[in-house]
Structures are given as C-alpha cells and as structure tokens.
C-alpha cells in the first residue's frame, strides 16, 4: 500500500517553511526558502507578493521531487499557516498594486494612536479582540485611505498574503477566522466582519476576502500546478490558520492551566480557552482558532532579535566565528553568572514595545552598572531582560487565567538557559516540544483532525509529545522576583523620559 503524507506550508515573516508528516505525525522531511523584506522608508516594511509566491512554489516543487515523490509518498492534503497582520492590495484583475505590507510596518502609528484613545477604539477592541496597533490591517487601510487615496480607491480587494497565495494556487479570495481575527475587522463572536470597523476604514465588506473556518478547503489546485508539482487532483488544500494559533495547538496547549511561550525574533505568551479575555488596558489579543476556541495572549517585539543585536555589537568575531557560534559562546558565558546578573538590569525595548506597556517610544536601558560588572554580566542581563518582559506578559495573562505549566518553543525560548530562567520566573515546570517547529506540528494536527485521524482538535492537542522538562528553583524565583519588581517599575516610570528621548532621536536620526 502506498504511504501517505500531509504537507504543511508556513508563510512566515522571512521564509516559507515546508514540512511533511506521515499520517501518524512523524516528520518525514522539511525545507525552507527565504524572501527579503524591503524597508524603503523609516517605519515601512514590505514584501514582494510574487516573490513569496514563486519562492513557495519553487521550494515546494523541489521538496516534493527530492523528498516525497522519490520516497513513494502520496500527498493527501496541504495545510497552510501564515504570519498575521499582512496586507496586500489587488486591483479588479487580481493584480497586486505594489508590495505587501508586513506585520512589522509601522506607518500607521498616528492613526493607531488616535483610534486607540477613542471610544470607538475601545469598542473595536471589545468586538474584534485585537488590540489597536499599527500592525493591524484595520489601521493600515485607514492609513492608506488618508495618505494614498488613489491606491485605496483602486483596490478591489484588501488581502492577506495567504489569501493571495491561495487564490493563485486554487481560486477565490478567502481568509480563515484566525488570520481574520488579527485584521482588526473581525467580530470574534459573530464570526463576521465588524461593521463599525468597516465604517472606520471606509470600506464595504465585499472588499475583504470571504471568511472561512480553518478546516475549509480552498478547492483544487489549478491543473497547471498539479502537473508541475506532480500532485493528484484529489489533494485537499486546507486554508489552515495563523502561525500564532497553530504554534499554540502544536505546542499541545489546550487544557486549563497551560500556556505556551514562543520566542524567535519577537515573542508571545499564549493560552487557549472558551472565553474571550477582556483587558481594560487592551493588553491582550484574542484570536479565533475554531468555534468557541480562543487563543489569547500578549506579544512582544523584543525577543531573540535583541540578543542577536547584542551579539553582533559586542560578541567575539575573531576569524572563524559567525553569528551562531558567537551567540553560543555568549550563552555559555551568561550561564556562569549568578541569577540576577549581580544587580545589573536590562530593559529590552530597543524596538519600542507592545504588550504589556504598549509604548512605541520605549527604548533599551542598562540599569545599575557598577564597577565590578564585567562583560558576561551584561550578556546575562540582556537575556534576563528579554525574559522579564516575557514574564510581565505572562503576569498580565495570569490575572485572567491560571498558568500551572508551560511549553516553550522558538529558537530563543528553547535555549536551555532561557527555558530554565522561564521556569524560575513563573515557578512552574517548563517543557520543550519534541518537534521544534510547533507551527508545522499544529498545521499537521489540524489536517489530521480534518481527515478524521483525531476526533477533535482537543484530542489532537493531547497527542503532542514534550521532551525535556525543567523544574523551577524556589531560591532563584525569589531573587528574580525582586529584580522583576524593579524592572516593572522602571518600564513604566521611564515613560516620560522615553518620550523626551524619542523626540531627540527623531531630530538626529
């Protein structure tokens, strides 16, 4: 009998990642292909939709030929995930008008600020579950309506990158509930586009893609792609979900009391539940994974990217070292420093900050340097600072939900030193998932549930195998807590100084 497999495709921030699973959930193979991000102006962050599409196609084709067809696997279904908040405008003919705007684009700062402070902003947060920030397509479209009237008027559809890729591969403009709930337009209770949001942006619902659940099949692959990819007519293309929602599912986080911490370049703490979390300060997001199933949590800009910045500036680059080695050396150095970096604190807000302080003007800070501090204290302080920020998101979440155990994933959070610090900070056991790519794992679980291998997502999530577990150390916890309380104070009390500094930095770019 022919062996069968499920393919997952994640359209991520910098790369498309493709993974194949057999029906029992074992990883067969994986690959990736990167695409660039263009920063044509300050605050702009764009990607070429055609390059993303071609990269995906190219990677998928090579992958199928080299790893799947040759080994005798037949593909049953393809399940998609994508990063959130992207926006692509297409004209009547479906042709992109300019590049896609990525989540990291900040051009709508002012529009976001205004909306957030208004009564409408609070109402929209209530109904859509998405905090108002410049990343949200709602704000991006509002920006476009103000600053690029012509493109705004000519736009036939406002899409996400994934909607565009699916339309190219199959047909029809669709968006899944999860990605939709990151647009700022989606009412997470009625599962329809929210009229008040549409009115704010000045568009009608027909200019957005059609809303579908994660299990929706976007139709057959176009015949040409069936031929070039060597896939059968029967291959099911599942719209899937967002990277955040799938990473949560793939991390096995489903029951009460569980949470997942993902830290790559940026980071997030997420939980799953049947109720929407309402946060008076709009610090938490709520994304729909399936009916009555919400992934709630808080994001941070300042994850592993800050550590990488530090490594690039202050790491050792004597001849043969590249950045990966340099970071490893730094982590070893940091591991030998006592908990709390002997009184050196670091605020990691180099990129401004979202949750929980939501201050775009916040900046990085070393606090408490004394004459005894050496290089390695700074390294550890940077790592601890990044994780204090993660912890403060977790703390906000804990006001709503218990967190009794944690899963970590992503290249930064799954570094053993980081996992240990997280365990000590939260005072809960911390596990690392067996499959380092929990987005792909989640997409597999979704596709497998769709095929009836699991009765429900609930059952699917319970099959996730966790490997190493770190237990918290109470003494460390106490030490970290004293530093964390100082960290929290500094983060909020410096706000007017951050403001003042931001003006200076703008004057002297």
């Amino acid at each position: 009998m022919a062996m069968e497999c499920i393919i997952t495709i994640d359209l991520g921030t910098n790369a498309v990642r493709v993974m194949a699973f057999d029906v029992d959930g074992n990883v067969i193979a994986s690959t990736k292909g990167t695409y660039p991000t263009f920063h044509v102006e300050a605050d702009y962050s764009e990607q070429d939709p055609e390059q993303i599409f071609i990269t995906m196609l190219y990677v998928l084709k090579n992958f199928l030929i080299e790893k799947i067809h040759t080994r005798g696997y037949a593909v049953l279904s393809i399940c998609f995930s994508a990063s959130m908040h992207s926006l692509l405008m297409v004209d009547k003919g479906g042709i992109p008008m300019g590049n896609a705007i990525t989540w990291a684009d900040n051009r709508g700062k002012k529009e976001a600020q205004e909306l957030k402070q208004s009564a409408l902003g609070r109402q929209l947060y209530e109904s859509t579950g998405t905090p108002i920030h410049p990343m949200s397509p709602l704000v991006k479209i509002a920006w476009l309506a103000r600053h690029d009237r012509e493109r705004f008027a000519k736009t036939h559809k406002f899409l996400s990158i994934k909607s565009y890729v699916l339309q190219q591969l199959t047909s029809g403009y669709i968006i899944d509930y999860s990605l939709a709930s990151a647009t700022g337009f989606f009412n997470i209770q009625s599962l329809r586009w929210e009229q008040a949001a549409l009115d704010f942006a000045g568009i009608e619902a027909d200019r957005l893609p059609e809303l579908v659940p994660a299990f929706f099949s976007s139709g057959k692959l176009r015949r040409e792609f069936q031929t070039s990819l060597g896939l059968r007519d029967s291959v099911k293309v599942l719209v899937g979900s967002s990277d955040g929602c799938l990473a949560t599912l793939g991390g096995g986080v489903w029951d009460e009391g569980k949470a997942i911490i993902t830290v790559e370049d940026s980071g997030a703490v997420r939980t799953v539940g049947k109720v929407i979390l309402r946060d008076a300060n709009q610090r938490l997001f709520n994304y729909v994974l399936a009916k009555d199933c919400y992934v709630s949590g808080g994001p941070t800009n300042n994850g592993g990217v800050i550590f990488e910045w530090y490594a690039k500036q202050f790491g050792d680059f004597r001849s043969p070292f590249d950045i990966e080695h340099t970071m490893q050396h730094l982590i070893q150095e940091a591991a030998d420093v006592a908990v709390g970096s002997q009184g050196l604190l670091f605020l990691p807000y180099l990129l401004g900050e979202r949750a929980p302080i939501w201050n775009a003007n916040a900046r990085g800070t070393f606090f408490g340097i004394n004459i005894k501090h050496e290089k390695q204290h700074f390294v550890r302080a940077v790592i601890e600072g990044i994780l204090y920020e993660i912890y403060s998101i977790g703390k906000t979440l804990r006001e709503h939900r218990a967190i009794n155990s944690l899963t970590v994933n992503g290249s930064f959070a799954s570094i053993p030193l980081c996992a240990k610090i997280i365990a000590d900070l939260f005072r809960v056991p911390v596990s690392i998932g067996k499959n380092p790519d929990s987005i792909a794992q989640g997409a597999y679980l979704l596709a497998a549930t769709d095929m009836g291998i699991f009765k429900s997502l609930d059952e699917a999530a319970r099959t996730v195998v966790l490997s190493t577990t770190y237990s918290p150390n109470n003494n460390h916890h106490r030490t970290y807590h004293r530093y964390f309380s100082l960290f929290e104070k500094l983060s909020t009390q410096l706000s007017s100084e951050f403001e003042e500094l931001s003006e200076l930095q703008h004057e002297q770019p």
């Binding site: 790369a15 690959t31 990736k32 292909g33 990167t34 660039p36 070429d48 055609e50 390059q51 599409f53 071609i54 990269t55 196609l57 190219y58 990677v59 084709k61 004209d91 009547k92 003919g93 479906g94 042709i95 000519k154 176009r222 040409e224 792609f225 069936q226 031929t227 070039s228 990819l229 690039k312 680059f317 070292f321 590249d322 950045i323």
Partner: protein
C-alpha cells in the same frame, strides 16, 4: 632602511615594469606647510604607514592612520594630509597604472592572477570605495620584498616583483571583506546582494561575482546562501527573475522577448522553458490566465 624613490622613465630599476609608475619609501623628519595638499591621483595608489601617525583626507573623509594601515586610492580619487602637510613618520608609496575603459578598470597583463580570481579581485578593488584598510602589517613586509628584488635583480626578479604586487592586492582585497562585516551580519550583506541583483537583473551574474561581494570563496558562499535561503545562489537568482517576470507578464504591454531579456534570461525560449518548468504554465498561458478582467487604462 634608507629612503628611496624610483620613478618610471628616470629609474632603470622600473624599466621591466611599465605598469609601476612610482615606488618610494619616505622618511619625513620635518613638517613643511603644504607638503601634502589633497590631489587627485592619476594611478592606483597604495600608501602604507611604516612608522608614525598620519591624518589624511581620503576621498573627502578624514582618517587617522597608524603603522600597518593602508590608504587605497583609485585614479580620479583624492588623497592628501588632513591639514595639507605630511606628518613626521615613514611610509611606502606605490603607484600602479591600470587599464581603464569607459565602463571598467582592470589590472594589466602583467598580473599573474588566474582569470576568475582576477575578475573578482578587480571588482572588489576597483569598483568599491575602499579608501582605508587597517592593520595590514603583512603589506610592509611585501613592500620591502619588492624593493629588495628591484635593487638587487637576480634571475626571476620580474616574475617575483609582479607576484608580490599581486599578493599585495590579494591581501588588500581579503582585508576589505573582513572590514565589510559580511561575517558578522550575513543577512544584511545578503540584502545588499539582493539589491544589486535586482538593480541589474539583466546581467549574466556568476556565483564568483556574487561571492566576491561577501569576500567568500564560491564554495563557502554557496553553502552560506543555501543555509540561509534554502536555495543555491543561482536558484535564488532564478527566483527573483521569475518573480519579476510575473509582474511584467501581468502587464499586457510588454512582449515576451523584452521580459526575457530584462529579467536576465538568454532568450525568450530560455525564459519560456524555465518559467514552464517552475510554474507549470508557459508565459503565454500565464498571461492569458491573468489578463485584467477589463482594461482600466
């Protein structure tokens, strides 16, 4: 060592080396006003500090040079003392004539670099604005060797001198890439490559040329790119070519041959084959399938 000056035309030592315009070691013991006012160089000039501290203006930027540091000046670029005079100290000066055509500069036939390496090194040295390279003590040694060969010619000295000049250029080219931080920040250098490729997509890029921008050998470069992007350098380039071609195909006014040549394919046939292999569509089918629903012009 004593100071010396060898000049083309007047110094017999330079007769076998028409490409070396001047070679000198200067020991400056007094400061004279206007002894080194910024002037435009007529040749490729290498200034190497042996002793002392010099403040120079190179290409309108000021640098402070210490022993082992090098100023690298192309024809048409400017060099001079930051305050118009030459400070106290010792330095080597080597002026080499290079061949210039409208579009590019190249070393002459005296160079014994092999063809591919020569193109790469020329590109690195002659197209980039290197200006100043730090900590190249090896260069002092090589310059001493050149001098020794010139004043004491033994059998094979012409070959050796030319070898030493080649070595000097290789060392400078290598150092330029180390200074370029490509190792420290591969993604950023890769972004620069991406921009270069897009700016000049019609050109027939080679892996050697791309690797030169990173200062890496082709094998190391290919490995890094594969690790980083998932593609070999040439496949990554095809990726960009097809993406750009798709955009052009979606505009009804550009013909296939123009699209093919603009995006770097040899011919419309080559374009058509590559496009079909990757997408499953011929360019013609693709255009038909993506024609604007109605003309909005």
């Amino acid at each position: 060592m004593n100071q010396f000056i060898l000049q083309q035309g007047s110094s017999r030592e330079l007769e076998p080396f028409p490409h070396i315009r001047e070679f000198a070691l200067t020991k400056n013991t007094t400061i004279q006003l206007d002894s080194f006012v910024p002037t435009t160089s007529a040749s490729l000039s290498i200034y190497c500090v042996v002793d002392g501290k010099f403040e120079w203006s190179v290409n309108a930027r000021n640098y402070c040079l210490y022993p082992g540091d090098i100023a690298f000046v192309l024809p048409g670029q400017q060099i001079g003392g930051a305050r118009g005079f030459l400070e106290i100290g010792t330095l080597f000066r080597l002026h080499i004539d290079i061949e210039q055509t409208k579009s590019r500069m190249s070393l002459g036939n005296w160079s014994t670099l092999c063809q591919t390496e020569r193109l790469t090194i020329e590109k690195m040295l002659l197209e980039d604005n290197l200006s100043v390279l730090l900590k190249l003590k090896e260069c002092i040694e090589i310059l001493h060797h050149i001098h020794a060969e010139l004043v004491n010619p033994e059998i094979g000295h012409v070959t050796r001198v030319n070898h030493f000049v080649d070595s000097l250029l290789i060392i400078i080219a290598r150092q330029s890439t180390r200074q370029a931080d490509s190792r420290r920040d591969f993604p950023r250098t890769f972004m620069k490559l991406e921009q270069s490729l897009r700016r000049d997509l019609a050109r027939q890029w080679t892996v050697e040329e791309m690797a030169a921008l990173f200062g890496l050998g082709t094998t190391a470069f290919t490995e890094r790119v594969k690790h980083y992007t998932g593609f070999s350098p040439l496949n990554y380039l095809i990726n960009i070519r097809i993406s750009e071609a798709i955009k052009l195909l979606k505009r009804p006014d550009v013909n296939f041959t123009d699209i093919a040549l603009d995006t770097g394919f040899y011919s419309s046939q080559h374009f058509s084959t590559t496009f079909k292999k990757l997408t499953g569509y011929t360019p013609g089918q693709f255009r038909k399938g993506h024609a604007p629903a109605d003309s909005q012009l």
